[in-house]
Structures are given as C-alpha cells and as structure tokens.
Amino acid sequence: MTKVTMTVNGASVSGEAAGNTLLVEFLREELRLTGTHVGCDTSQCGACSVHVDGKLVKSCTMFAAEADGTDVITIEGEAAEDGTLSTVQQAFQDHHGLQCGFCTPGMVMAATALLKENPKPSEAEVRHYLEGNICRCTGYHNIVKSIMAASGQNVEPMAAE
C-alpha cells in the first residue's frame, strides 16, 4: 500500500492505495464518493467518467496511484456549494436527459468536457463525443438535446414531434 494524495472536488485528500487499486475504487471505497459508477469491465460504458487535471478519463481504467498529485473532479463536484446545479446538470433535468440515473454521472462529466472543448457542438459532434458513454434508458435523444441546450443552442426544433 502506498499513500496517494490528490485534490478531489477542490479538497486535498489522502488515502492508502495498493498498486492495483483503481481510481474508481479509491473514489468509491476510500473516499465514499459513490456517485462515480462502474458499469462494465472493458472500459466501454463510461459510467465511471471523471476529470483528471481537466481531462475526461475513465476512472476504472486508471490506477489510483497514477492520479497521485492530480486534480480530480467527480460528479459530486459539479454542482455549486449551495446545491445549484451546473448548466449541464440543469439541462439534463430540464430536458429529461436521464431515466435510471446510473450512466448519468458519466454523461454529465463527458458533456461538461465536450462543452469545454467545443462550446457549440453540432448534433453529430455530440453523438460522436459520447462514443464512450453508454445509456440503456433514453435512446440518447434527450441526452443529446440536453447537451445542445446546455451549450445555449435552440433545441426547439429537436422537440419530439
């Protein structure tokens, strides 16, 4: 076991991690930040997506020790201190971009990363960016709509009818 120290959602945290401890295990079990989920074991579903030093990564495919010294943001760090949802979070609620909620933390982290890279993505760009985030509930329609809305684009033409 080695001691790892990182900044998680703005706070410095330390904990013990074995060599094979994944970042997601460290977050969920050591820090009890259970908003980051595990939906597969082949690095495809993206439910575990977090930001490490500002970049979208799959926390199930990175060791905790590799995150030593980094700045990590998880879903728990997205809303304001007073509970006000982030623009992306609010758009997901406004446009019904989630159902069971299990993939949602990863979707929000991916969407937030996308809009930082590309503030006004096209529908096709949104869909392409979500290649590594699988949702089984929504058929993606309202996820795409939520992200487009969060980018400030008019989503009225994307209404269901």
């Binding site: 259970t34 579903c45 809303a79 609620q93 290649e131 329609h141 009818e161």
Partner: protein
Amino acid sequence: MPKDNGIGASLKRREDVRFLTGTGNYTDDISVHRQLYVHFLRSDVANGTINGIDTAAASAMSGVVRIFTGADFEGVGSIPCGWQVTDRHGEVMKEPAHPVLAQGKVRHVGDPIAAVVANSLEEARNAAEAIDLDIHELPAAVDMRKALEEGAPLVHDELGDNLCYDWGFVEENREAVDEAIKNAAHVTTLELVNNRLVANPMEPRVAVGDFNRATGDSTLYTTSQNPHVIRLLMGAFVLGIPEHKLRVVAPDVGGGFGTKIFHYAEEAFCTFAAKALNRPVKWTASRSEAFMSDAHGRDHVTKIELALDADNNFVALRTATLANMGAYLSTFAPSVPTWLHGTLMAGNYKTPLIYVNVKAVFTNTVPVDAYRGAGRPEATYQLERVVDKAARELGVDPVALRRQNFITEFPYATPVAVEYDTGDYNATMDTLETMIDRDGFAARRAASEAKGKLRGLGINCYIEACGIAPSNLVGQLGARAGLYESATVRVNATGGLVVMTGSHSHGQGHETVFPQVIAEMIGLDESMVEIVHGDTANSPMGMGTYGSRSLAVGGSAMVRATEKIINKTKKIAAHLMEAAEADIELKDGQFSVAGTDKSVAWGDVCLAAYVPHNYPLEDIEPGLEETAFYDPSNFTYPAGAYSCEVEVDPETGKVTIESFAAADDFGNVVNPMIVEGQVHGGLGQGIGQALLENCAYDENGQLLSASYMDYAMPRASDLPLFKVDHSNGTPCTHNPLGVKGCGEAGAIGSPPAVVNAVVDALQSAGKNVLHIDMPLTPARVWDAMNG
C-alpha cells in the same frame, strides 16, 4: 395549452437532482459494517458432470472465511418458477430443480459451482482459482432444433428429453386454421429468428445479505424491480424464512428492462450466507459476470404463415415457434412465449382464425426470460414482417394492406382469447403518414441513390398488452401469483401525503408522476406528496414494476386509496362545517358546502383527523391512512404505427437510420415528457435488436458475446432523433386513469420497421432479398445482397 401541474403536465423529475449530483443510493453504494465479499466460481463448460470439488487448499488461503458448494444447499429449496404452463396435451410443463449452487451437474457457462466468501473481493477471487474442480465435460445442447432431436445431449437427465412443453393455442382452432390455409387464395410464409438479447441495464446486479442474530431478522438489499416478489419467492420457496423475518430492499435501481424481475441464486446465497456466517455478505456482478448470469431475452425460431383471400383479406394465421428456456426455468420464463406472445398474434388485424404452437426447449445456455416487451415483441415482429412480405408478394401497398385488415370496432374479441377495449389504428397510421412525409420518400430515395446509397422505408403497426393482469385470469393460465398492485396513502397531520406503493421505479419517474395524479385529485401542489417504494418494510405487498403496469395497475391502486382518503375527509369536513356529507365538494385543496360560502382547508381537515377534539369519533376512526389493492379487470392495449427510413451502403452493407417516427395510442397521458422518454428508450433498444445486438453461443455452448467487446450496445451515434406522437389516445375503459402503459411500445414496434425498411432498400436495387435475420449487421446485409 399544456398544463403546468397535475395530470398532463410535463413536470421535471424530482428524482433527477440526486442522480445528477451523484447522491443516488444504488445497491452497490451500500456497505454494511463488517461486510464480507463473495465471488462465485462459475462453470466454464456448458454441460458437465461434477465429479469433485476440493476446496481444502483454497479454504486455507488468506482472507477466506468460508467456501460454500452445492452440498451446503442440500435441503434448501430450488430457485422457483412463478408460472406453470399446461401444454396442448393437457400435461404440465417439465420443471427441473434449480439449485442455488450446482449439484451434480453444471448446465451452462456461468452456472455457479462454489461461492468463496472472504474479507476482500481480491482474496475471494484468489481462493476461487485455487479450488480444485473435477468436471467431466459433456456434449452440450445449444441449437434448439438439434436439442429436440433423438439422442441429443440432455440438459436435465431426469427429464428424458429437452422439451419443456408443447403449447397449442387456441387448440380447438387448429384444424380450422389448417383447412383455411390449405384453401386460401394466397399464403405468405416466413421463417425467422428473433435474436437472443441481453438486457444490459447499466447497473449490474448486486446483492447484500445481512442478518441480525439478536432479532433473527434477515435483510436483503438487491437490484430488483419487485422487492415483495423476491421476498415471497426467496423466503417461502428457497430459504424457508417467513416474510415477517425477512426484509427486501431495492433502493435506487439502475435500470431493469425485465432482467431484474427475477429471483436469482445470488440473492438467496447472500441472504443464506449472512445468516450462516453472522456477517453481511456482498456480491457485485462484473459486467462479464452479468452476461453469463442475468436472464437473457427473446431467442425464438419461428415459422409463420399468413393466408389471404382473393381480396387480400387475412383469413388465417399459423405460427410455430421454438422458444429457448435456457438451462433452468427463470421466474416468468414459461409465460413469455405463451400467454404474453400467443394472445397478441391477432395484432391490429381482424384475422378470424389463428393457431399458435410453441415448443419450449431446454438448452445448455443462460436461462431466458422476460426482456422489455417479453413475448409481445416476438409476436409483433413475425406478424408485421409476414404482412410486409405478403404485400410485396401481392404487389400492394403495405400500409393499404394493413388498413384493409384493421380492427375498427371496439371492444373486439380476438380469436386468441383477449378483448381489446379501445383503439383507433387508422388514426395512429394517419398521424404517422403525416409525420414522415411519405409522399416525399421518392425524392429522398433519389437523393440517396445519387450519392451511391440505397434508401428504404418500413412501416408497421403493433399492439401490446400491458397492465398485467387480472389475477383470476392469470391464475387460470398458470401464474403462481396474483398480479394486483397496492398503495397505502398516509396523510400526515398537517396535510402532506406519503404514498407507499408496491410499484418500483428504476428509471420510470414514479416519484414525479404519481404525485401528479394525487395532486390533481385533491387539488394540492405536487410537492405535498412523497412516494415511498422499494422496501418491503414500509410498503404494502405489491407485485412491482414490469410489463408497463405501474400507472395502469399501481396508479389505479393509488387512485383507489386516495378516493378512500377523500371520502373520509369529506365526512370530517361535513362534520366540521355541520353540513351533509353529500353536499361537500373538494376543489383546489378546499372543502366547501355546495350552495354556500362555507369552506374548510385540506390541512385543517387532516389536522382534525389527528387532533380529534371536534370530530365524529362515534362514526369514524381518527387518523388518515388508507390502503387499496387494485386488481385489473382486463389488460390494457396500447397500439400504434411506426416508421423507419434507412440508408444502406451497398459496398459495405452498413445500415444508417435516417429517421424514425412513432405514433402511439397510450390512452391518457399523465406526464408527456416522461412518456416520450419511455418511447425513446424503447426505440433505442428495439433498433439495437434490429441492427446491433446479438447474444451468440458457439456449438459447444461457449458464450461468444460475453462482454461489450462483442455484444454491440447502441451508442449515441447509432441512433437518430426520434419523432414521437401520442395525440391519438383512446382512453382505457376499465381503469380509473384511462391509461394504457408506454414502457415497452418502442421496443415492440421498432424491430419490424427497421427490417422492413432494409428489405425495401435492397429491393429498390433489384436484390431479391425478402428477409434478413436480426441483427442486420453490415456483414449480414452484405452477405444477403451478395447471395
């Protein structure tokens, strides 16, 4: 004007806040003090005799608390099946035992052989590798046709063959159907496969067993769509724990789609082991484990024949299906290819004679059970494909052929034993044709052809049966449970309401939708109503959520309980206002006396019930809490028309969905936003079945699609924006809300639309392709095009 509250309002979901902020409480988020971890050693062969399991060395390894094998479960019950089908010869289905851990034989890849309980998951896995297994591998029964042949490998030796049942429906019609087909002007025949699927809710299954030695109470936290059903099945049939000593909690559940209905061995194991070890025991499935232990869906092989007269009227339908049961009978498996399938074979059409034969087959594969739609997608797919093929053979417009044969008068008793209460199939088809600009298709096809692509249009209908189900009816059909739903409405002293429901929300938004109904009934703000579900300790016995039944059945129970509350509050209000009960009106949360200006607020009446100083104690009890159990008198019958437009790349066979439209009749709609979301999700799964998803085994019973590396899940880039409409609702006539159910429609109606469209595209290029089996992967489409 869209409403902004109550029934019909697209209220934002209140549950979203916790899901969006990472503060949901899913089962894997639960860690119980002193918990142990279990890893299941699973069979890597499909069929084999267990000659020996030596756990001595493994048991001595670091961190191991105890290793369980099948021998530890002798005397413990079998995982039960909840439905007994009687076959066409009057015999009940064959029902083999399903032990918690394999005893004597392993019967599918993934069958659990031993369970290692250790202080950590890593230690449990290490020890599992050290277990010395002596398994003699046997030839496996995998392909259903071969499994029924004489001399095939047996899944269960004691059964003598692999046939679970041979079901005929309606048996009395069989000869008449045969005769009608023989004499018909035209018969269209189609053989097809309804591909095996894996439900794949994004949350893998989890179970945490806990035991309190001081009280003797067991608790199971589990990823279930129906905690009461699990408590009953596991308590009464497997572990022998009376329900008052067993609590089952299904907290936030990350999607179900049917596969979390069933009672699984891992749930029984964790509950059993927690008691045996006096420590909590936790199991979390990996995705790879989910592929070989979650019940799979579909997997039918079908031959369907549609007979038409010289005027293109449907005169008879005959269909014969082999339905895969897998190695054991999962909870509702026998009902899926029979009563949830055969009864829907009339579809939207007035075909007078129908005969359905289903042979259910045991194979050395994971058990197969209900998956979104369950039986109804299989019925719709074969029917809507054969109708399309008939139109092509006859050279008539496929929509016109459908319209000609639509049922137009309701109620309508089908020849397959159900009565449709309402519907308007022409209305949804009219709307659909408007939505898709059908007239513009020729120009769109030309534009596709100009860039070297083929374009096809597929249109079809569907009907399904939701709101399962009248208990006395399903009892006659073999269900071993009632299918009512329950609700307890508790009004607190200051007027807020808590509704405890047996329905379970795992993405459907009950916490938002149910309050809309109650708020409308009383005239309160939705925020006054809270929904409690998912815990047998604080909700009445209920049957859970599946088959699009929550609002139609659970919502009806809630309405009935709320009506009782309203009746009682009116009595109290009458007393407070010294008026006759019959004159009391409730509107906008105010009771008033008709024809007067007297009124009393909802909160004051509720307070009087709990502080009964001025109260008719001689007539009514204090307090405000009512329970209702609602048993539906019929199924509900959502129906609609769907359309898919595709482009096919003739060089690669790759299919792209260019547009998809759905016009549904769901009866009344409580929250349109959520209804549309349900349709989108169903479409995603139905299109996934049509184009991408395939659970495949090799001839030895090895699972080929054992992870997302080989099982193709729909991604955002595979799907279009959907056009959906539900403006043609014909309210259900027999439940108080007039609702029908919307969860499964998309998955039922969409696969034939996709396949119809691809066949249409290939036909446009002169390819003589009349059918391709799903999934229509690029390789399959290209193979079909290139003969």
